[in-house]
């Protein structure tokens, strides 16, 4: 892409005799990081926002008194401008300008055509054209999707939505099923051995059921745990650095304010009978 497509034009300029305060006002109005300094039409320098910021008086009152004589309203642009300026041509590539900006302190490059300033290419303009290019090359996608498969029923609405998203983004899917803890005191009634067997059986059943829901060709991990659903979902999302949590609306309401990533709340679907 050529610089003339990306550059900001027309561009505000300032003369060397103007005060630094005037240049500051112009910079704020033009919403750029730098101003080309021109004499007639010839480029003689650049004045940058960061250079003007350095002219502000100290915040320590005792020091500021001595600095007033050198404040922005007393100094001229020629005193603060940078004379050694690298300009670019409008027909040059933006890659060239990006390389020049990355290696310098300058935040904007003047674009000069036939000795006359025709535009300005700053970091903002550069990113405006480079970001879409980067996104075309590496489209934004989800890498890990966590499906919080609820405990209430065996047709969780979050599951199909999570499968569809994982397939589209070729993301790794984590299916998490949190079993509600068994009643306290059950160990005393049944004995610890029996209780352990019950818990193992519940987990194995849930794992088998979830594994059967995953279509072939999808990278998926099935996790079954026992405890508080909201806390487990948030903890898993944080631990596995997931990009999106898919949950039913009730679970989503409890975790939306503390989840480390966005939450897709899927409402319960309306089921129709084929015979109707």
């Amino acid at each position: 892409m050529k610089i003339k497509v990306a550059m900001k034009s027309p561009v505000a300029t300032v003369e060397p005799g103007a005060t630094a305060a005037q240049a500051e006002t112009l910079l704020a109005a033009a919403e750029t990081r730098g101003l080309p300094v021109v004499e007639g039409r010839r480029l003689v320098g650049m004045v940058y926002r960061r250079d003007l910021l350095r002219l502000q008086p100290s915040t320590v009152p005792a020091l500021a008194r001595y600095e007033l004589a050198y404040g922005p309203s007393r100094l001229c642009v020629r005193d603060v401008m940078r004379s050694e300026v690298v300009a670019v041509a409008p027909d040059a590539d933006v890659q060239e300008a990006a390389r020049m900006l990355s290696g310098r302190e300058a935040e904007a490059l003047p674009v000069v055509d036939g000795g006359e300033v025709v535009g300005l290419l700053g970091i903002h303009e550069l990113l405006t054209v480079l970001v879409p290019e980067l996104e075309r090359r590496w489209p934004p996608r989800l890498r890990r999707v966590l499906a919080a498969v609820g405990t209430s029923d065996r047709t969780p609405p979050a599951l199909p939505a999570a499968l569809a998203l994982a397939r589209r983004h070729r993301a790794r899917l984590i299916l998490l099923h949190v079993l509600p803890p068994l009643r306290r005191g059950l160990a005393a009634e049944l004995g610890q051995d029996v209780l352990d067997r019950i818990v193992d059986q519940r987990c194995a059943d849930a794992r088998q059921w979830l594994a059967a829901s995953v279509p072939e060709g999808l990278e998926a991990t099935v996790a079954v745990t026992e405890g508080d659903e909201a806390a487990e979902v948030v903890a898993t999302a944080a631990r596995d650095a997931v990009d999106l949590i898919v949950a039913d609306a009730a679970t989503a309401r409890t975790i939306a304010h503390e989840a480390p990533c966005p939450v897709l709340a899927v409402p319960a679907w309306r089921t129709t009978h084929a015979s109707r």
Partner: protein, 174 residues
Amino acid sequence: MLQQARTTVREGATSAHAGRIWEATMNQRVLVVLDPEGDQRPLLWLRRVLGGPPADLHLLSVHRPLCGVVAGERRVAYAHQAEEAVRGHTLARLSPAAARLKDEGFHVATEVRFGDPGATVLRTADELGAGLIVLVVREGRGWRQWWAGRVEHQILKRATVPVLAVRRHGQRAA
């Protein structure tokens, strides 16, 4: 009034089949609820979740109804004048984001509405036949948290389409 697109799945349908239905519905028309401060985070996440165009995006900003401006004992502006001013200001803030999304190939519409936030969002989604609502989850302390949470809970509870909830703070960038 159009009926809100509520996904209907036939009994006995497989998860994969149901997933395809969700995917098709979610990608058609999206209602993006932007907060008055114009936080762009939900848009970044939405692009990531959708994976890009095509989709019809409806950017909505909801404000509480205004009562006009009174200075001393004089009414300086009536409610509709104050609302027009807020509408113009908000649309100007939304326009750069809308222009960027249009450049990327999305069909974008912007709108400012006045009313109860939760009910207005649900009504707008209903009217548009939106397949997905994108919402910013705000955080705060005390009654602010309670008030903001109340609106978001109302939307998450009553919406009949998927809702993508993005936290304003505390989440990494898209």
